[in-house]
Amino acid sequence: MAAGTLLARRGTSPRRLPTIKTAIIAAAAYVIAIIFLLPYAEMLITALRPQRELLGRNYVPHHFAWSNLTNMWGSSFGITTSLRVSLEVAGGATVLVLLVAIPAAYYTARHHFRGRGLFLLVVLVTQILQPTALIVGIYKEFLNFHLIDTVWALIMVNAGFNMAFAVWILNAYFASIPVEIEEAAMVDGSSRFGTMFRVTFPLALPGVVTALIFTFIAAWNEFIAALTLTTSNDVTPLTVRLDSFIGQYTVDWQHLFGASVVATIPVLILFALIERRVVGGLTAGSIR
């Protein structure tokens, strides 16, 4: 390193070699990044295609129909209703996950007790299970409980299958907060719950935010459970609504992708915020 800088200062070339290498690496990375974004660019472009140019054989239409983005909210498409349902389901599932995962994660991080290993094992198993394999059972169960066509069914299913992630990530955060900090607060006269709310939670906030965003996105994007558990247009989230566009005589592709763009952009931004912490939660901490 030191020799490298010395040589560079003398004006000889050895420093240029790594620069060329860096340039090649960067160029390759940019190309790959663009490839990854292309389908979503096409989504946006199609959303802006005027009806006349929908089937035009060009990458970009001659005119952009910005009015598509306002027309698609018309009641005949049901996008407004579905967006509301998606928000209810994702919001409800997120609240439920935090309500059940925070106490479980806190207690398992702080105490050793009988059954702790078993509990964490069950959570680990639910982590990699998915609603898909159980969908027939889930359908039969909610049919029995008369919960078909309710947002509650979707809230519960989404919360159940995403709780594990929240437990892992919160468990790791709680465990990293020294007990001494809590003890000091309690010596100063704070109650046990007061300590939890005023001392522990603020310190674990990044974990809570990660769990919150992750659950919200997962529930927002969920498809098969919603497809199975809803039939009425009043309770179909956006993913199911868009699916119902397909197979109709004339598919309003521009509106379909307009709604997709609206559903995708916030999710991309939110995910970028938690990007660094997600892997640890998904691999139950065995990596990182």
Binding site: I32, F36, E42, E141, N171, A175, F223, V279, G285, S286
Partner: protein, 325 residues
């Protein structure tokens, strides 16, 4: 972020370090009962949720697989093993099983190979790395169902963007023809759907491998360089072996995701033409529409395979934690 293994150990140590306070004799039984019930209060909400959403459906699933249910949903008694024998005698099943194996092996194999390269690339330092990594997560954050739809649209035979591109390259000669109708032919439809599945799998596997790469101490490469090892040699002898824990976790989770994958095939072909692009997961869903008993039987078969994957996952997880100690 501290990993769970370390976190658990730390929690254990804290517990061992602080001896339980001397208990007064008469507090005895009531207190002990309370102590024993305390974990229950904290874990009950999570446990109930798991019971309702995961355990109950498993029971309902197994029950349904042995019931005789008419297409309109009326249960007319027990079917014994009839649903299973009907399923196993279904002439479409052998093809579907073979296709499922192909689907999982091809998607996971290609994904892991590409993400080894991607992880290596995105682990280098270069200006704008942060932004390119954000682009990489797009297919992970976006709904798979919407990603599949946009690919279906781009492959559309008349004016899809991919067909326009392939036409410019001279691969597709005519629009609206058999050759430009990629999703209309089972083989090419399968190939494209495998491509889409790889595309949406790459972010997770690449990020997992990136996390694994960061656990490898840089001094090792330094030492290898001093010893005159080539880059390829140090990749083979240092990176690959030390990356194994991350690699194996990525493979197992990816296998699970791909085996359970439904939206890609559903949105692009609905499993058609006929049953020619069904995997066991899509077949189960298609059966559910009219033969729910047989669908449940298919699910039971799928679920048995999933248990095997889960056991492998638990095994791997255990190894990794022990290695981390």
């Amino acid at each position: 972020m501290p990993h769970l293994a370390a976190a658990e150990e730390a929690a254990g140590e804290q517990h061992r370090r602080s001896p339980s306070p001397p208990r007064p004799q008469r507090a005895g039984r009531a207190r002990r009962t309370r102590r024993r019930l305390e974990p229950l209060a904290w874990l009950a909400p999570a446990t109930i949720l798991i019971a309702v959403v995961v355990i109950w459906p498993i029971v309902a699933l197994v029950q349904t697989s042995m019931q005789n249910i008419t297409p309109i949903g009326v249960t007319i008694g027990s079917a014994g093993a009839k649903n299973f024998s009907k399923l196993f005698h279904d002439p479409n099943l052998p093809g579907i099983l073979a296709r499922t194996v192909l689907w999982v092996v091809a998607v996971v194999g290609i994904t892991m190979l590409i993400s080894l390269g991607l992880a290596q690339l995105f682990n280098q330092r270069f200006p704008g790395r942060r932004i390119t990594r954000w682009a990489l997560i797009a297919p992970w954050a976006a709904s798979v169902m919407m990603t599949a739809l946009i690919f279906r649209w781009m492959l559309q035979p008349d004016s899809g963007a991919i067909n326009i591109f392939l036409h410019q390259l001279g691969i597709v000669h005519q629009f609206n023809s058999n050759e430009s109708s990629w999703l209309g032919r089972p083989d090419s439809a399968m190939a494209w759907m495998i491509g889409v599945a790889v595309f949406v799998s790459l972010p997770f596997t690449t990020y997992t491998l990136l996390a694994g790469l960061q656990t490898i101490p840089g001094e090792l490469f330094e030492a290898a360089r001093v010893d005159g090892a080539s880059q390829w040699r140090s990749y083979r002898s240092i990176t690959l072996p030390l990356l194994r824990p991350a690699f194996v976790v990525a493979v197992v989770i990816n296998v699970m995701n791909v085996f359970n994958s439904f939206p890609i095939i559903w949105e692009m072909t609905r499993g058609g033409p006929g049953y020619a692009t069904n995997t066991t997961t899509v077949f189960m869903y298609n059966l559910k529409e009219s033969y729910i008993g047989e669908a449940a039987a298919m699910s039971v078969v799928n679920f048995s395979l999933i248990i095997v994957i889960v056991l492998i996952y638990l095994r791997v997880n255990n190894w990794n934690r022990q290695a981390a100690r």
